[in-house]
Amino acid sequence: VIEVGCAYRTGLLPHLVDHLDLVDVFEHSVDDFVAGAEEGLAAARRVADLGPITLHSIGLSVGSVDATARPDHLRECREVLRATGVPELSDHFAYSRVEGRRLHDFAPLWRVEEQLELVVGNVHAIQDALGVPLALENVAMVFDPGGEMSPAEFANEVVRRTGCRLLLDISNLLIDESNGLCNAGQELAMLDLDAVTGVHLAGGEEVDGIVWDAHHAPVPTSDIEWLTRLLPEMPNCRSVIIERDGRLQQGHELIDDLRRVRAVVAAHQQPTEVAAASAAG
């Protein structure tokens, strides 16, 4: 069963409170719970008791040597995972710290063998420390360092060598295509879709000719169409999460996004019933 939900933002609650039936699962940031030690763990337990959640991370810096430099952070993440019973943690194919220096965003990876070996070593170490598998997400790149492998080939190789999973951000991939950095169709044709356990969708924003992964707008129709096409090819996908971080006063757009995604997922999960209903109606 594929659950549909959204990333949890307090500012969205006024819009969601009358539509909670549209949200099977909330995605929470593990980083929100690792602060404050016992208070954070208690909050994580309470949140998990309220209903299904997934946990997303933005702080592991999987692509740099910093990934294993903060064992306390990994221990805190493990405690949150244990407290909530969430079976995997997602983060990104990127790095956000370089020798302790914070970048405040995700820098794209140079896809060469040495970088691959660094990521593979980090993923092994992180999975061992957490006690659960990682699911790694493709980031939207504003520039691409390139390399010997395409993003999909790099991701597949990390999966093959570590047993990690993939969080496919369809919107990020289409943003990369809009910015001339990849051919989304070719990437998806190469990607190991069996490894995908979750999907992210979000609306981007174009500024001065560059499309950003802004999470400020409705999910584009093209992204929903790709979801429709890909769902039958992702047998292990368990969740589709819509990310909305900005223009929260337009929360009704998220409600509409949830309805559109739920319709696609329902059609995928019950194709014969939906087809029959469509034919009858």
Partner: protein, 108 residues
């Protein structure tokens, strides 16, 4: 080849306007002066200036936002501690909780 070396250099280009200006003036010369491996030099020399500059601007904006909320978090936690201590009749030194450490990039 050294991936950490290239990441250190990319971090400089993204975070330091002077480094970025020097790179923009002569990308290959800048890379040659700091790296030895030809593949690394080619990668840094061939970076897209428009994308790199745009990302650098975005990082600066996100860092400023992070600083704002980081400071705000400290203030909120300090006030909560003070309220709790007052309710429990403790001295301010009697309890200690860590301030929020939301220190990472915006979600993706």
């Amino acid at each position: 080849m050294s991936v950490p070396d290239t990441q250190r250099l990319l971090a400089e280009l993204l975070l330091d306007p002077e480094a970025r200006a020097a790179w923009s003036a002569d990308p290959r010369g800048y890379a040659r002066a700091r790296l030895t491996d030809q593949a690394e030099i080619d990668m840094v020399a061939n970076l897209d200036p428009r994308g790199l500059t745009a990302m650098a601007a975005s990082l600066a904006e996100k860092e400023a936002r992070w600083r704002h909320f980081h400071d705000l978090g400290h203030k909120v936690m300090a006030r909560r501690r003070a309220d709790r201590n007052r309710q429990e009749g403790h001295t301010p030194e009697a309890r200690h909780t860590h301030p929020p450490t939301h220190t990472e990039p915006a979600r993706s």
